[in-house]
C-alpha cells in the first residue's frame, strides 16, 4: 500500500468470505541492520512502520496480527494475548539463513509464552530474483506442539483443526500471563569496577 510520504505500508488484511475487509494491520517492527560483510539493510527506507497492534474477530476465534520480523518482539505477542487473542497470525518471508537458525524456536516460544495457537505462513524456495526464503509454514498449538508443517521448498497448504479449549488448557497449566508482575530494574555497576581492577583474576 503506497503512502503519501513515498514509502509503503507492509499491511496484512483480514478478508471476510464476501471479499470485504474485516481488519488490517501494518507491520510495526522494521528490519534496519548493518550486516557484517554484507550490505546495509534498511526496511524503514521503503516501508513506514505501523504503530498500532490489532486483535480482530475471525471465524470462531480472536486473531492477533503480526508480520514476519515482529516475531522477534515478545512484548507485542504478549499484548495481543492479553487483549484477547487466541490465535496469532505470522505471515513471513524469512531468509534461509535466519530461518534455519531461528524460525522454529521463535514461533514455538511465542506460542508457549502466550498460550496461543500460532499460524505461520512463509514464503518458500528460490524466487525468480534468486533470493531464497526458508519456508516451513506451520501451525503450532498453545503447548508448543507443531500440528502441521510444510517443507522448505514446495509451496503448498498446511491445514489443522483448531480446538480453542487448548488455549485455556495451556494457560491453566502454565499461567504465565496471569502470573506476570510489574517490577523495577536496578543496574549495579559494582561488578564492573571489580573487573576493571583485575579481580577476580581470570
Amino acid at each position: 500500500m503506497a503512502l503519501p510520504d513515498g514509502r509503503f505500508a507492509n499491511r496484512s488484511v483480514l478478508f471476510q468470505p464476501d471479499g470485504s475487509i474485516a481488519s488490517s494491520y501494518d507491520k510495526i517492527h522494521l528490519f534496519d541492520a548493518t550486516l557484517p560483510g554484507l550490505r546495509d539493510y534498511r526496511e524503514s527506507a521503503t516501508y513506514a512502520g505501523g504503530d498500532s497492534a490489532v486483535v480482530s474477530d475471525a471465524p470462531g476465534f480472536r486473531l492477533g496480527f503480526t508480520i514476519c520480523y515482529d516475531v522477534r518482539f515478545p512484548a507485542l505477542h504478549r499484548a495481543l494475548a492479553e487483549a484477547g487473542a487466541e490465535v496469532l497470525a505470522v505471515p513471513a518471508a524469512f531468509t534461509k539463513p535466519t530461518g534455519e537458525a531461528h524460525w522454529h524456536v521463535l514461533l514455538r516460544a511465542r506460542a508457549i509464552e502466550t498460550g496461543c495457537f500460532v499460524l505461520a505462513a512463509a514464503q518458500a524456495g528460490t524466487h525468480e530474483n534468486g533470493r531464497q526464503t526458508y519456508g516451513h509454514s506451520m501451525i503450532i498449538d498453545p503447548w508448543g506442539r507443531i500440528l502441521a508443517e510444510l517443507d522448505g521448498a514446495t509451496p503448498g497448504v498446511a491445514v489443522a483443526d483448531i480446538d480453542l479449549a487448548a488455549v485455556a488448557e495451556a494457560r491453566g497449566k502454565v499461567p504465565s500471563l496471569a502470573n506476570a508482575r510489574p517490577f523495577s530494574l536496578s543496574v549495579n555497576q559494582a561488578g564492573a569496577s571489580l573487573l576493571a581492577k583485575g579481580f577476580p583474576s581470570p
Binding site: 503506497a2 509503503f8 471465524p59 470462531g60 513471513a92 518458500a124 533470493r131 509451496p155 497448504v157
Partner: protein, 52 residues
C-alpha cells in the same frame, strides 16, 4: 507460496491454494508476507503498489 515480482500470477496462485485449503475444510486461511508482490527493490514495489 513462492511469490514473484508481478501481482497477477501471485494472486492466481493464492486463489489456487486458498481453494485447496477450503476443500480441505479450512474456515480461515493465512498467506505469507509479500504474497501479492515479492519486489526486488523500491521501484519494483512502486510499479505495482495499489489497493490489492
Amino acid at each position: 507460496m513462492r511469490s514473484g515480482t508481478q501481482p497477477g500470477p501471485n494472486l492466481a496462485e493464492l486463489d489456487r491454494l486458498a481453494g485447496e485449503a477450503a476443500a480441505a475444510g479450512a474456515a480461515y486461511a493465512l498467506s505469507p508476507e509479500v504474497t501479492v508482490v515479492f519486489a526486488e527493490n523500491r521501484d519494483g514495489l512502486a510499479a505495482v503498489a495499489g489497493p490489492w
